[in-house]
C-alpha cells in the first residue's frame, strides 16, 4: 500500500475492540482471520480500522479489501463480513 495512503486517521481493530466484543461476545482482536481478498491469515488486531465514517470499516492491511463493516443504528447493529473468509473463535 502506498505510504501516502496511510494517514493519521487510520487506526486498527484495537480501537474498536470494545464494539467487536459487544457484537461477537468475545475479544476479537486475538481471533485468527483470513482475508477473502488475498488470503492473508492474521489476528484481527492487525486489521486497519476506519472509524470516522458513518460506520466502522475494517480492511486488510495488505490488499485493502473491506473485511468487516459495522453500522450501529437505533434498531440494532448491522454487521457485514463478506471480506472475512473465516474468523476463528476460541473459548
Amino acid at each position: 500500500m502506498e505510504e501516502s495512503a496511510i494517514d493519521e486517521r487510520t487506526l486498527d481493530a484495537n480501537a474498536v475492540a470494545g464494539m467487536l466484543e459487544e457484537i461477537f461476545g468475545t475479544d476479537m482482536t486475538v481471533a485468527d482471520s483470513k482475508c477473502a481478498g488475498c488470503g492473508r491469515e492474521a489476528e484481527m488486531g492487525t486489521l486497519l480500522a476506519y472509524t470516522s465514517a458513518p460506520g466502522v470499516v475494517l480492511r486488510c492491511p495488505v490488499c485493502n479489501t473491506v473485511m468487516v463493516r459495522m453500522v450501529a443504528t437505533p434498531r440494532g447493529t448491522l454487521v457485514e463480513a463478506r471480506g472475512l473468509a473465516y474468523v476463528r473463535l476460541t473459548r
Partner: protein, 206 residues
C-alpha cells in the same frame, strides 16, 4: 429501559439558535470545522489518467478527461451541508460543473431512473435522477477557492447538498444510470436509501 447515566458537566454539542437554526435540519448541530470522514485510505489519483464517465442506460456512454472536464462550463455554488453523523456546516463555497450540464451530453433512455455514483477507492452511493437534476447536484473540483484537497474528495467529488453528505461521493469517477435502484456502500448496510435530512431519513426504516 434503564435511564442513561448523564455525565456531570458534559454539554455535548451546541445547538444552533436564531436565524441559523432554521437552516439546520432535525437533530443536527452546527460546526465551523469540516470533519473528514472516510471508509478507507485516501486514493491518490493521477490526473493524466482521471476521467468522469456517464454510462449505463444512455444511448451512448461519454467520458471526459481532466482537461476536457475543466473546459465544461462551471459555476460557483454556496450550499449548506449535513452529515448523518449530526454535523451541519452552513455556507460552504464550491466551484464545479452542474450535473444538469453533464447530462446535456447524453441521451438518457426512458427506463433510466436512478444513478449509482462510483469512485476511486471503491465507494458507491445511489441517487434518484430527480435528486440529481434542476441545479440540485454538481461535480466539484474547488472548495473555498482552492483545488479540492484529496482528503475532502479531490480532485473531484459529487456534491448533493439537499441529501445527507454520504451521498456526496468523494473521488467520484462517474455515474452509472440504471432502471432499478442499487443500494450503495452505506445504503446496503442500514442507511436510508434516499437520505433526506429534512425528513431525518438516516437509517432504513426511518
Amino acid at each position: 429501559m434503564p435511564v442513561p447515566f448523564v455525565t456531570r458537566g458534559f454539554q455535548g454539542k451546541p445547538r444552533a439558535t436564531g436565524d441559523a437554526a432554521r437552516r439546520v435540519p432535525l437533530s443536527q448541530y452546527l460546526t465551523t470545522d469540516f470533519p473528514v470522514l472516510s471508509a478507507g485510505p485516501t486514493p491518490t489519483t493521477n490526473l493524466r489518467l482521471w476521467s468522469f464517465t456517464i454510462e449505463g442506460l444512455v444511448r451512448e456512454k461519454i467520458s471526459w478527461s481532466w482537461t476536457e472536464f475543466q473546459k465544461l462550463p462551471a459555476q460557483d455554488f454556496v450550499v449548506d451541508i449535513s452529515c448523518v453523523t449530526k454535523w451541519t456546516k452552513l455556507d460552504t463555497h464550491w466551484r464545479g460543473v452542474s450535473v444538469d450540464t453533464l447530462l446535456e451530453h447524453v441521451d438518457l433512455e426512458p427506463r433510466g431512473a436512478f444513478a449509482t455514483a462510483y469512485c476511486d477507492g471503491g465507494y458507491t452511493t445511489n441517487i434518484r435522477l430527480p435528486d440529481l437534476v434542476n441545479g440540485q447536484a454538481f461535480v466539484a473540483s474547488q472548495y473555498e477557492g482552492a483545488p479540492l484537497e484529496a482528503e475532502h474528495g479531490g480532485p473531484a467529488r459529487l456534491v448533493v447538498p439537499h441529501l445527507y453528505f454520504w451521498k456526496s461521493a468523494k473521488w467520484v469517477r462517474g455515474l452509472h444510470i440504471t432502471e432499478k435502484e442499487t443500494p450503495g456502500f452505506w445504503e446496503s448496510l442500514g442507511y436510508h436509501i434516499r437520505g433526506d435530512p429534512w425528513k431525518e431519513e438516516r437509517y432504513s426504516g426511518d
